[in-house]
Symmetry: C2
Subunit: 753 residues, 2 copies
C-alpha cells in the first residue's frame, strides 16, 4: 500500500481477521463503514473492501506484517489508546481521516471492542500489577505456629514425629481388608506410645490429660482420617463410655486393656431406624431376676445397630445402648457391655455381625451392623453410674426422669463433639496447604507478551481460597475456646457447653466440607488425582457432618438452647425490652443504627474490630429475638407448638449460625489481643478482618433488610474483602506453613513443586 | 398430698425433675419462688421445698404418677395452655393461688419454658399439620415423562432397556483393572447397538442423528458415569475430532472403525502445564520436508499430555494437539492423528504412556499421560480441515490468524459442552430420586405421643431438597434449549451458542455438585454407604466442574461474551441509555421500580411469572451494565486493561450467573406454555415459581442494594419459598418418578423401602 490514507486502514483490516472473532454481520458493519467514506475514490473503496471480504482472507504473512506495524506504533507512542489513535498515526495526519474520530469510536462500539484492551495486545512487555504480586512473607512463621499450638506444643510435636516415621507411610491400596489392617496396626503403635489412654486416669495407665488427648486427635488428623476415626472409636467412644457411664468395677476390669488396645471395642448406639432420634432406640435389655442377668435383644432387622466402628472385624466388646425392661416395664435407654467376639475373632453366640461394606470414605474403619438374638450378659455388665438394678431386682437411679437420665449420660460423651470438629479443622488446614501452595506455583494465562502468572494472583482465586483461610484461623481459636470451656466446666455450665460443642461441631465440619470442595476445584484436574490427597481428605470428612450428630439436627438443638437462654434473660417481649436486649444499652442502639453509621464507609471504620463484633452481636441477638417472637405469635395464632417449631426451622438455623459466627469472631479477636509479636499480630488482624467482613458480605441481605447497613456500605464491604484478599496474598503461603503439617502427611506432589 | 393447695404445685415438681434439664441456678429460682409464697405455712413451704431439693429426687414412680395427673388435666380441658392453668385446675380454685398468675408467668419465663410447648407434651395423640402431610400425587406421571423426553423418547427408551439388561449389572469391585475392563465391555455392547456412531454420517455406518446422540449420553448417565465418560471419549472426543477437524480421507479411513470401537482412541489436548490456557500448549509437530512427515515431540516432562482418557490401557491412536512448526516458524496449534499402541497393546516406539492412577471418581476410565520422543507420523495424519501443509511444504489455511483458527477448531468441538451438562443433569436426577424417595419413607422424631414422621415433612428437609428439584427441572429445559440452538445453529450464531454452552456447562455441573452434596447429607449415614450410590454419583461428577473447561474460567468467557454483546448493542454509556437498556423501555422502568412495585407483596404478584422474568432480566442487564462501566472507569483511571479485568473477575461471575439464571427461567416458562395437560401444567408452574423465587431469595442482597425490592418484599418472598416447598411436597415423589430412571440404575436400597 503506497497510499497513506489507505495505509491508515491497517488497524481495521487487522481487527477484522485477527484474534477477535467477528461474525458475518460485523464484517458487514465494516463494509458499510468503508462504503460511507465518500471522500475515498471508488477505486480506493474497492481496494479497502477487498481487504475485508470474507471470501478473500489475507495470507498469514500479511496478517503478521500488519501486526508488526501496529506494534511499532503502539510501542513508540504510549498515548495511543484507541483504534483511531492508531489510524491517525498511520495516516500522516490526513485531514479527511482526522475528521473521522467519532465514526471510529462508533465503529469500536459497533464491533464490541474495548480500544484499550486491543491496544494492550500490541504492547511488547506487559508488566502489570496482577503479574507482579508474589509470595513475600511478612512475619516469623515459627512464632505463629507457637501461638497456634500453645501449651499443647510438646504433645503435638511428639505426635508429628511419630506419624512422620516410615511405618506410617500412606497405604494406597484399594483393597479394603489390607487398608483396615494397616489402620489397626497404626492404632497399635499409637497405643504403645501411650497416646490412646491419654485421657484415662493414671491408675489405669492413662495420662489423665484430656487437653493433650484432643491435641492428639487433631494432630493425627494430618495423617490418615480412617486412623483418627478408628482411634477415636476405640479410645474415645468405647473407652470413654466405659469410663463415663461405668463405675469403679468397670474401670478396673477394662480401662487399661482398652487403653493398650488389648481389648478392642465398639460404641453401639445408632440403630437403622434411629440415628438422630436416639431416644427412640428399640434394642431391649430385659432383666432376668432368677439369673441376675440381662437379655439383649434386637426386635426386628430395622432395629439392628448400624455403622458401628470396629464391629466388622476387630471389636471384641461393645457398649450397647438399650431400653432397660424390668418386669415388663420400660426404664428408658441405658448402656451395657456386651461381648461380641472372642480374641480369636469368633463371633459370640446370638450375635450377628454384618459388614457395612464400601463407604464413600473412611474405608480403613471396619463399620458393621450388630444384632442380638437373646444374648445374655451378667448383671455387672450394666454401666451403672447413672442407673442400676439393685439386689432385689429393682431399678435405682439418682435421676428419676428416664429422659433426663439419658441426656445426662449423653452429656458425659460430649467430648466426641470436640474431637470431631478439631479433626475437621486439621483436614481443612491440610486442604488449604495443598491448594494454596499449588496456586502459588501453578501458572496459567498472563498479560499479552508477558509470561503466565501464578493463579493465586487472580482475584477469583484469592476470593475462593483466602476467606476460607481466614475462617480456618477463626475456627482454630473458636475450638480452642470450646476445649477450654469443656476442660474447666462446672455442672451449671454444662447445657451451654453442650450447645456450644454441638454448634461448633456443625460449624467446623460444614466449613471443612466447603473448604475441601473449593480446594478440589481450585486444584483442577490435579485436585482430582488421589495422589494429591484432596480425594481422601474430602471423602473421609464427608460424613463428619452426619456422625456425632447430624449437623442440621444439632443446629436446631443449638437454636433451642439459645431460645431458652433468651427466654430466661428476657421473658416479657415488649419492644423496648427487645431493643435493650439487642443493643445491650440504648446508647449503642443510637450510635449503631443512625443514618451516619448505616452509611459509614471510611476504611478505618470498615476495618474496625469493634464495628465487626457489634455487627455480629446485633445479628445474633436480633435473629434470636425475632425467632422467639415468631414462635410465640404462631402459637398465639393457634398453631400446635410442634408445627410452630417446624415452621421456624429455617429461621432456627440462622439463630445458631449467627451465634457461632459471633463466638468465632469474638474468640479470634480475644486471641489476637494476647499476641505480642507485632508482625504476627498485624497479619492475624488482617485475617480476622477478612473473616468478619466476608461473613457480613455473605449476610448482607439480612443487614440490608434490617436497615443496619445501607447499600453504599455493603458495597464498600465487598470492595474491602477484595482488598484484604489482595493484601493477604503475599503471606498466604506463610500462613499455611504456620500450620506446620509434616511434609510426609501433606504428601501431595502438587504442594511441592 | 392431701392438701389441694400443695397438690396444685405438682406441675412445678414435675417440671423440676422431668425432661427439661434445669440447672442448679434454676432449682434455686424454684426454691425462691416457693419461699416467696408467704401465704403458705412454714410447714407447707418445707414440704414443697423438700420436693424440689436436688439432694432428694423423687422416685421414678412419683414422677410417673405426677405425669399421669397432669395428662389427665390437659386432656380433659383443651383450654389449659400454661403452667398456671394446670396449677389452677389442680387447686380447686384456691383464692391464694388464683392471685399468683403473674408470678407463675414470670416463673415460666425465668425457667425459659414455653408454656404451650410444655402442655403439648401432655396431650395424648398429638396430630399436627406437620405429621399429616404426605405423598399425594396430583398429576399423571407418564404425561410428564413424555414432556421431558419429547421427540427423543424412542432412543431414550431403547437405551434404558439396554442398560437394564443383566450384563449391565453394576460392578462393585475396588479393583481398578476389573472395573476398567467392565466399562470397556459395556462400551462394546453399546457400539454393537449402534449407539456410539449415532452422530456420524450414514456413509460411515452412523445414525447421522446428533439429537439422539446427546439423548444417549444423558440416558447412559443414569447408569455408570465411568461408562458415559469412556463412551464420550471414544465416540465424542476421539471420533468427533477426526470428523470435525479432519477431511474426507480421514473420515473414510477411521470413522467406521471408531464408531464400532474397533479403533479405540484418545483426545490429547491438555498438558500438565496447560489446562485452561490451551493456546499455550508446548507439544510440537515439526514438518520434515524430505520425508513429508511430522515429528511429534514433548519438550519437557511438564508438557506431557495429561489426564487423557483411554490412554492408559485401551487407546490405539490419539488426536494430538501440537504447535505446527515449519522451517522453524510456529504456525499455531493444530491437530494430528498419532498411533500410540497397536491392537495387541504394544506401545508405539517413542511414545511413553503412564497411568494417572487412582482418582476421586471415574475409576472405570483409564486416564493416562502421553509423551512423545520424536515420534514420526506421515503428512496425511494432520487433521487438515482448517489448515494444511501443501505439496511444496508451505502452510495453507482459509483462516489467516493462528489464534482465530484455533478457536474455530475448538468451536467445532462444542458438543462436549452439551453432553457433559446433560450427563450432570441426569446424575442430579438420580441423586434427587434417591434422596426424595428416602425422605418420604424415613421417619425420625415426631410430636409427643404421636408416631415418628417422614423427614420430608420437615421444613428444613423440604428447603434442602425441593428448590434443587425445581432447579433440576429448570435446567432440563435450559439444556433442551441449548441442544436445539446447537442443532439449528448458523455461523452467525456460533459465538453466542459457544458462550451459552460454556455457561450452561458450568451452571449445570455446579448445580449437580450442590445437589449431590445436599442429597448425601440429607440421606445421613445411609448416604455415605456406597451401596446407596450417592458416593459414585458425587465423586464421578466431581470433575465435571473442571473438565471440558474449568467452570470458573468458562464463566469469565461467558461474561466477556456478554460484555462484547453489550458493547455492540449499546456503545455510548450515558445514563439514559443504560436505563433504556436495563428496562427495555421507560414504561417498564417506571412500573418496576416505583415504591408500589418494590413493596408489593400480594400472593398473585409474588407468584406472577412475568414479575419473575422481569426481575431476572433486570438483574442480568444491570449487572452487565455495571461491569462494563466499572471496567471502563478502571481503565480511564489508568489501570492496565489486564489488571482491570482481574479486578472485576468476581463481578464477571455475577454477569454470567445472572445471564444463565435468566436463560433457565425463560426456557422453563416457555416450555410450560406448551404443556396441554392441566394437572401437569399446574405442577410445573409451581416448580418454576419455586425456582424463580428461590434464586431471588438467594440474590436478595443485590435486589435490596439496587432498591429493586424493599425488605418487606424480600421477606415475603422467603415466606413464599417456604409455602411453595410445602405445597410441592405431596408431589415430590411423583416428580422424581417422572424422570423415569430404570430401577436397576437407581439401585440404592434406601430408594426402595
Amino acid at each position: 500500500m503506497n497510499n497513506a490514507k489507505l495505509h491508515a486502514f491497517i488497524p481495521v483490516f487487522y481487527l477484522a481477521w485477527s484474534d477477535d472473532l467477528l461474525t458475518q454481520k460485523e464484517f458487514q458493519t465494516l463494509n458499510d463503514f468503508i462504503k460511507n467514506q465518500s471522500w475515498l475514490s471508488e477505486e480506493e473503496q474497492s481496494f479497502l473492501l477487498s481487504k475485508i471480504a470474507i471470501s478473500n482472507p489475507p495470507s498469514r504473512e500479511d496478517l503478521n506484517h500488519w501486526k508488526l506495524e501496529l506494534e511499532k506504533i503502539v510501542q513508540k507512542d504510549s498515548s495511543v489508546t484507541s483504534i483511531f489513535d492508531m489510524v491517525k498515526a498511520l495516516s500522516n495526519n490526513d485531514v479527511n481521516l482526522l475528521k473521522l474520530q467519532p465514526d471510529f469510536m462508533k465503529l469500536e462500539n459497533d464491533l464490541g471492542f474495548l480500544g484499550e484492551e486491543v491496544i494492550s495486545n500490541f504492547k511488547k512487555t506487559a508488566s502489570s500489577i496482577t503479574s507482579e504480586t508474589q509470595t513475600n512473607t511478612s512475619f516469623d512463621i515459627a512464632k505463629l505456629t507457637a501461638i497456634l499450638d500453645g501449651a499443647q506444643a510438646p504433645i503435638i510435636n511428639k505426635v508429628k514425629s511419630i506419624i512422620s516415621q516410615p511405618e506410617f507411610a500412606y497405604e494406597t491400596t484399594t483393597d479394603v481388608t489390607v487398608y483396615r489392617n494397616k489402620v489397626y496396626e497404626w492404632c497399635q503403635i499409637l497405643a504403645k506410645h501411650n497416646l490412646g489412654n491419654m485421657a484415662y486416669p493414671k491408675q489405669y495407665g492413662g495420662g489423665e490429660n484430656i487437653a493433650d488427648y484432643f491435641a492428639v486427635m487433631e494432630t493425627l488428623s494430618y495423617h490418615d482420617l480412617s486412623l483418627v476415626i478408628k482411634f477415636g472409636v476405640q479410645f474415645g467412644l468405647w473407652g470413654m463410655s466405659v469410663f463415663s457411664l461405668g463405675t469403679a468395677k468397670h474401670h478396673e476390669k477394662y480401662l487399661s486393656a482398652i487403653g493398650s488396645l488389648e481389648l478392642p471395642g465398639c460404641f453401639a448406639m445408632t440403630e437403622t431406624r434411629h440415628g438422630s432420634n436416639v431416644k427412640g432406640l428399640e434394642t431391649t435389655a430385659t432383666y432376668n431376676h432368677d439369673t441376675k442377668s440381662f437379655t439383649i435383644k434386637t426386635p426386628t432387622k430395622d432395629d439392628q445397630k448400624e455403622y458401628i466402628g470396629n464391629a466388622a472385624i476387630h471389636g471384641q466388646m461393645a457398649t450397647v445402648f438399650a431400653k432397660l425392661i424390668i418386669n415388663g416395664q420400660d426404664y428408658g435407654v441405658n448402656a451395657f457391655i456386651v461381648p461380641i467376639r472372642d480374641a480369636k475373632g469368633n463371633v459370640a453366640k446370638g450375635v450377628a455381625i454384618a459388614d457395612c461394606g464400601l463407604k464413600m470414605g473412611l474405608n480403613g474403619v471396619d463399620n458393621g451392623t450388630l444384632s442380638f438374638d437373646a444374648v445374655v450378659i451378667p448383671k455387672e455388665n450394666m454401666l451403672d453410674r447413672f442407673a442400676s438394678v439393685n439386689e432385689k431386682g429393682e431399678f435405682e437411679s439418682p435421676i428419676p426422669s428416664d429422659n433426663r437420665r439419658f441426656f445426662t449420660m449423653l452429656g458425659t460423651l460430649v467430648g466426641g463433639r470436640i474431637g470431631i470438629p478439631r479433626s475437621a479443622l486439621a483436614a481443612a488446614k491440610s486442604g488449604l496447604t495443598i491448594a494454596i501452595k499449588y496456586a502459588d506455583q501453578r501458572r496459567q494465562f498472563g498479560p499479552q507478551g508477558g509470561s503466565e502468572i501464578p493463579i493465586l494472583n487472580y482475584r477469583m482465586h484469592q476470593r475462593r481460597l483466602l476467606p476460607h483461610l481466614a475462617k480456618t484461623y477463626g475456627i482454630h481459636f473458636g475450638l480452642q475456646y470450646l476445649t477450654n470451656r469443656f476442660l474447666a466446666r462446672t455442672e451449671e455450665e454444662m447445657q451451654e457447653i453442650e450447645a456450644l460443642a454441638a454448634g461448633m461441631k456443625s460449624y467446623s465440619t460444614w466449613s471443612t466440607r466447603d473448604i475441601l470442595q473449593e480446594c478440589r476445584e481450585a486444584c483442577g484436574g490435579k485436585g482430582y488425582l488421589s495422589e494429591n490427597r484432596i480425594d481422601a481428605l474430602k471423602n473421609d470428612t464427608e460424613v463428619y457432618t452426619t456422625f456425632e450428630g447430624d449437623n442440621t439436627v444439632l443446629m436446631q438443638l443449638v437454636a433451642k438452647n439459645r431460645l431458652s437462654e433468651f427466654r430466661k434473660s428476657f421473658g416479657e417481649m415488649n419492644s423496648l425490652g427487645i431493643i435493650n436486649y439487642v443493643f445491650e444499652n440504648a446508647k449503642t442502639a443510637v450510635s449503631e443504627k443512625n443514618p451516619i453509621a448505616t452509611r459509614k464507609t471510611d476504611e478505618a471504620h470498615l476495618l474496625d474490630s469493634e464495628f465487626h463484633l457489634q455487627a455480629f452481636q446485633y445479628r445474633e441477638k436480633s435473629v434470636l429475638a425475632a425467632a422467639a417472637r415468631r414462635i410465640k405469635k404462631l402459637i398465639d395464632d393457634g398453631l400446635d407448638p410442634y408445627d410452630a417449631f417446624n415452621v421456624v426451622q429455617h429461621h432456627m438455623i440462622d439463630v445458631a449460625q449467627a451465634y457461632l459466627e459471633r463466638i468465632t469472631l469474638e474468640q479470634f479477636q480475644i486471641a489476637i489481643a494476647t499476641v505480642e509479636d507485632e508482625a504476627v499480630k498485624v497479619t492475624l488482624i488482617k485475617l480476622a478482618q477478612l473473616y468478619a467482613l466476608f461473613q457480613i458480605e455473605k449476610n448482607k441481605g439480612w443487614y440490608l433488610e434490617e436497615g443496619y447497613m445501607e447499600a453504599v456500605k455493603t458495597k464498600a464491604i465487598r470492595k474491602m474483602v477484595n482488598q484484604l484478599c489482595w493484601d493477604i496474598r503475599p503471606d498466604a503461603v506463610a500462613l499455611v506453613d504456620a500450620f506446620a503439617i509434616p511434609e510426609s502427611c501433606i504428601a501431595a506432589p502438587i504442594a511441592f513443586q
